[in-house]
């Protein structure tokens, strides 16, 4: 079987205005990877959540900063790398509360990382404070059964 490798990169100003384009970008790449419509929707959502976090938390809506999304596909998996040079954070310290708690505290956020972890097979942060914060996510093309 021919080994296929395809790379896609998108770099846009760090503004929520660009989330729609980011989703189109993921949708195109994931469709070419062979995912069906429902799976493509999941990948779009995971990347949207990750980029929204960069735009809001890493760069505080400063549109002079840039969000870079790299997608890579081969015969086995689809992977996404998103890097930011923002303030960084410790993913292990993020206390993921249950929906019930969030509702009773009238919180409007706190679901993004849980979504990402559920939607993808792999979600891995590499944080080097002050240097760069890298997020790697991947999803296998054909689940081994």
């Amino acid at each position: 079987m021919e080994t296929l490798e395809r790379k896609f990169t998108l770099q846009v100003p760090s503004s929520t205005e660009n989330l729609a384009l980011i989703r189109e970008f993921v949708s195109s790449a994931a469709t070419q990877a062979g995912f069906d419509e429902k799976e493509v929707a999941k990948l779009e959502l995971a990347v949207d959540e990750a980029c929204a976090n960069v735009i809001e938390h890493a760069y505080g809506h400063d549109a002079n900063k840039e969000v870079i999304v790299r997608a890579r596909l081969d015969n086995e998996e689809f992977s996404i790398d998103i890097e930011d040079t923002g303030k960084g954070f410790d993913p292990a310290e993020i206390n993921q509360e249950e929906l019930e708690q969030l509702i009773s505290k009238r919180k409007t956020g706190g679901l993004g990382m849980r979504l990402m972890k559920t939607l993808m097979d792999e979600v891995r942060y590499e944080i080097e404070p002050g240097k760069k914060n890298a997020l790697h996510m991947s999803k296998r093309l054909k689940k081994s059964d």
Binding site: T16, E17, L19, A20, R23, E24, E37, K38, A41, K42, E44, L45, D48, E49, A52, I55, E56, L99, E100, Q101, L102, I103, S104, R106, K107, T108, G109, G110, L111, G112, R114, L115, T118, L119
Partner: protein, 124 residues
């Protein structure tokens, strides 16, 4: 742009129906939030969110449901969600919204659902 977002609010009988059209993401969620806030400020706590034309929702949009539902339930109201397509329903399901919100096929059935008593407190 592929997905212009529109939100429209109607008063129907004793209900406020908020119709979402397009994609609710971190960019457009503030418009949705504003619409819900306005309905509540106007004293209406029986809210139906019609998602028939919703093409996409991220956690920023889900957060709007989370942030307001306690407030309306405290005064005997609710936020019912209707018209979700299979694809758009995914994030709601993943996060367990179906145990904490009523999902209805359409606006009419959502309105009827308000006559049922639900002890949401027991759920959380």
């Amino acid at each position: 742009m592929p997905n212009p977002f529109l939100v429209a609010t109607d008063s129907e009988d004793d209900f406020a129906v908020i119709r979402l059209d397009g994609a609710v993401d971190a960019h457009t969620a503030p418009q949705f939030e504003e619409a819900v806030q306005k309905v509540i400020d106007d004293g209406q706590n029986n809210i139906v969110v019609d998602c028939e034309k919703l093409t996409y929702i991220s956690s920023a949009g889900l957060g709007v449901f989370m942030g307001f539902v306690e407030e309306v339930r405290e005064v005997g109201g609710d936020i019912k969600i209707c018209g979700l397509s299979e694809k758009v329903k995914q994030p709601f399901e993943i996060l367990g919204f179906e145990t904490l919100f009523h999902f209805c096929p359409d606006v009419e059935s959502a309105k009827e659902k308000f006559s049922e008593q639900t002890d949401w407190e027991a759920a959380y």
